[in-house]
Point group: C2
Chain length 471, copies 2
């Protein structure tokens, strides 16, 4: 609880109208899209500019008040849940596109801008901002930056980090820092831009970003390919890449996901198969057509029961939207949905899909899997009910075993959703003691008072790895 006096100090900075602390408001910002994490903040503030952010941080620093920056709350690892209370920072007043620089192919934006708004604006100029997290219609650039969001185009175009050229950020002591520039190359000291992107609000508050753009691909084609077995789908993925084709999108859905998506979107997706690949290529028309022809052939060679090409742009968009809505579609099936994003080297996808199936059976939980097959980034999604404690225990054990399987296959505990609070206990499994000590040294060096999104990334204790006997 903050004192009336303290609240007034915050109001003096950002104006009474931008500070909330009613019970309804505090409740509204007590959770994000992650199941099973909730905690009340003490105050919600929506600063109007960088200077206000700096003043707020200084005040928080002086009084040891935690700060949780928050975009649209689509976070899936409890990264924006205010589990230590404190101040939730909103960016609804810092949502401007500052500059679109066509000559240097950059766009400079405030953190509150919606991801899709950036894409739309630049595409009107023949430019392209590739990162496209599934939540892009509501997620903010600030959230994408904090989480280093991925998306459906990661295979060919990379993730958010690959498009960040410069940042303005407020440090834990309130100082304002500028990193990078509109520069294709810059090696002036440590790469702080890459350090801050994906740091989940634990090192600095990003207040402005300059993003790299590329020319918009002029042509694209999308195909959908159905398979009798998951192996066939996985082998097709490998074969496409072995043919030296890097599609823009190479998405996988299992039967269960496909059924839910069709039931939700009603676009006439075929469901009489065990696995489906949604494949998109973009670029120059001739190249795309050649690639798609070859992909078509590869799908057929690997036992596809049906391969169909989207006939119009609308049809292609419909397919991609259906895939992006997988999460919403699955969410309707049971009260609670827990989405994971264990990621493995792409050659290990068949093993990983099998491991997930085996683990789901072992713990008798319902897991449906979809994800970015080309990236090795799968989203095993558990349909459950947090009110059922006994089931939740089994769910937790199943996910622990999925993390272990992923790491044993050379993978990671999170490909694009972040560590947040949800996976903090497992981080050491991936990065080891030495990795933890380096990350802690950085955190301690920059944020000695631990006011920046405390509890995220760094857990109080690391989970012990289970001894798993797979007979």
């Amino acid at each position: 609880m903050l004192s009336k006096q303290m609240i007034q100090l915050f109001e003096n900075i950002s104006g009474v109208e931008n500070v909330q602390y009613s019970t309804a408001s505090l409740l509204a910002y007590s959770y994000d899209a992650t199941a099973n994490f909730q905690a009340l903040p003490d105050l919600i503030i929506a600063p109007r500019n960088t200077s206000e952010v700096s003043q707020i941080v200084k005040l928080c620093s002086t009084h040891n008040i935690p700060i949780v920056p928050r975009g649209s709350g689509t976070n899936l690892s409890a990264g924006t849940t205010p589990t230590s209370g404190g101040v939730v920072l909103l960016f609804k007043n810092m949502n401007k596109i500052i500059e679109l620089d066509e000559e240097n192919m950059t766009i400079t934006v405030q953190p509150g801008v919606i991801t899709k708004a950036v894409s739309d604006v630049v595409e009107q100029k023949g430019l392209f901002y590739p990162p496209d997290p599934s939540s892009r219609k509501i997620s903010t650039i600030g959230g994408n930056l904090s989480e280093n969001s991925g998306g459906l185009r990661g295979l060919k175009y990379g993730v958010t980090k690959d498009y960040v050229m410069a940042l303005e950020a407020v440090l834990p002591n309130g100082d304002i820092i500028r990193t990078g520039g509109k520069l294709a190359k810059d090696v002036a000291g440590y790469d702080l831009t890459s350090l801050f992107v994906g740091s989940e609000g634990t090192l600095a508050i990003i207040t402005e970003a300059t993003l790299k753009l590329i020319p918009k691909p002029i042509y694209q084609e999308t195909i959908l390919s159905l398979f009798r077995t998951i192996e066939e789908a996985a082998e097709t993925v490998s074969a496409i890449l072995a043919a030296k084709i890097i599609p823009t999108t190479l998405e996988f859905m299992d039967k269960g996901t496909l059924e839910a998506v069709e039931d939700y979107s009603k676009i006439g997706l075929p469901v009489n198969c065990e696995a489906v690949l949604l494949i998109e290529q973009d670029g120059a028309q001739e190249t795309v057509q050649q690639d798609i022809d070859k992909i078509y052939e590869i799908c057929a060679q690997h036992g596809a029961i049906n391969v169909s090409k989207a006939k119009t742009e609308e049809e292609a968009e419909q397919l991609k939207t259906a895939r992006r809505d997988a999460l919403s579609a699955l969410a309707r099936l049971r009260p609670t949905l827990i989405l994971e994003d264990a990621t493995v080297p792409r050659s290990k996808i068949p093993q990983m899909v099998h491991a997930i199936k085996r683990i789901a059976d072992k713990y008798n939980v319902t897991i449906r899997t979809f994800g970015h097959a080309g990236d090795g980034n799968l989203h095993p999604t558990c349909l459950t009910d947090i009110r059922d404690e006994e089931e939740m225990e089994r769910v937790e054990k199943a996910f622990e075993e999925i993390f272990q399987a992923s790491i044993d296959l050379g993978g990671t505990i999170t490909g694009e959703h972040g560590v947040g609070e949800m996976k903090a206990e497992y981080l050491e499994w991936k990065i080891g003691e030495a990795g933890m000590s380096v990350m802690k040294a950085i955190k301690q060096g920059l944020d000695p008072k631990n006011i920046m999104n405390p509890g995220k990334i760094f857990a109080k204790a690391t989970k012990k790895r289970m001894v798993v006997h797979n007979g």
Copy 2:
């Protein structure tokens, strides 16, 4: 000076045959490719594996002995000059290609592998490692990683960092850390891979790296375009990019560089012009041909006096080799050559080229300029003589003013050569006090004893910015 006893401890780790301390050896490793920096190390060690590196680092840590990791010594910012003495680490015994993984499109190498050897090996499999620093025939991957090397293909393909997926490194306390993985996406904590790449040996000793590969472009064309004025060349660069074409290579040479290069390479380069652009495009044949036709047209529209296409692959390679040899060519003209790499947003190239000319005139020094025009990464190169103190003072002032001009245009003090010891005094001009404090906190957190390449990146004092009156 290390005691006999101490030297023996190092010999116990890596074997007598891998430890050198004769005066000749110490002299041989007392400098790199940077003019005007020289200092004797105490010992040269060539460890045979990561475990030995770890033991060496532990020993150095215990006894506060500086460690300078060194590739082939092509560094241009005194990054590998042992200015604090100590141990120079060589990687000639750690020069193996560990694995080429075609399915995941990665190559895992030790730091001592020559850059070009990596390119050659992967190209035989239809794969491609894009980073191509001009020194690639002799530079090592370890050096490229420490410096985040750029090269001629940066515009389209990015720099070394964009191709590093995983690292093994030895921390300042001797612990071995592994970052990343063969993973297209990984957000498990802070991006230590990006932090270590480009950290110039000040945070960790990289002992292994997994590099990302892409399919080898199947076709390429190269053209050379001559211009009467630098403005015309610069406008051509802007016009090509405005046409939404991103060439692989978009290199600039001024008349003085061109003359030196022709004199060196004798391949019949035309020298009757003020500026030349070397432009390469790669990809699918149809796309490349379309792009090159359009580029041809744009060059003509912007006043090119001559545009010629390389007729064979050999001819194209000859042109690129000539450009890569610019440094060697210029080095023959006067006793000392100082190469800079101030980098600006690409739209600012004309202003930057003019600023360089004006500054060279003002201080009466000879500067020739070439570089990566598409990246805004210019290499103003001063031909001088370090034995002439009075001239060297003017040279230093000229470079200071070039750094200022670059920063005033939104640029940086170094695009691809690193800060090293040479530019440490200027780093704060680019990144500000807040940037310095963050970088120092990271350095202090990881290397509290300051044994890792001390004196690099961080200077004892920052240069005061001159008050420049440009009338």
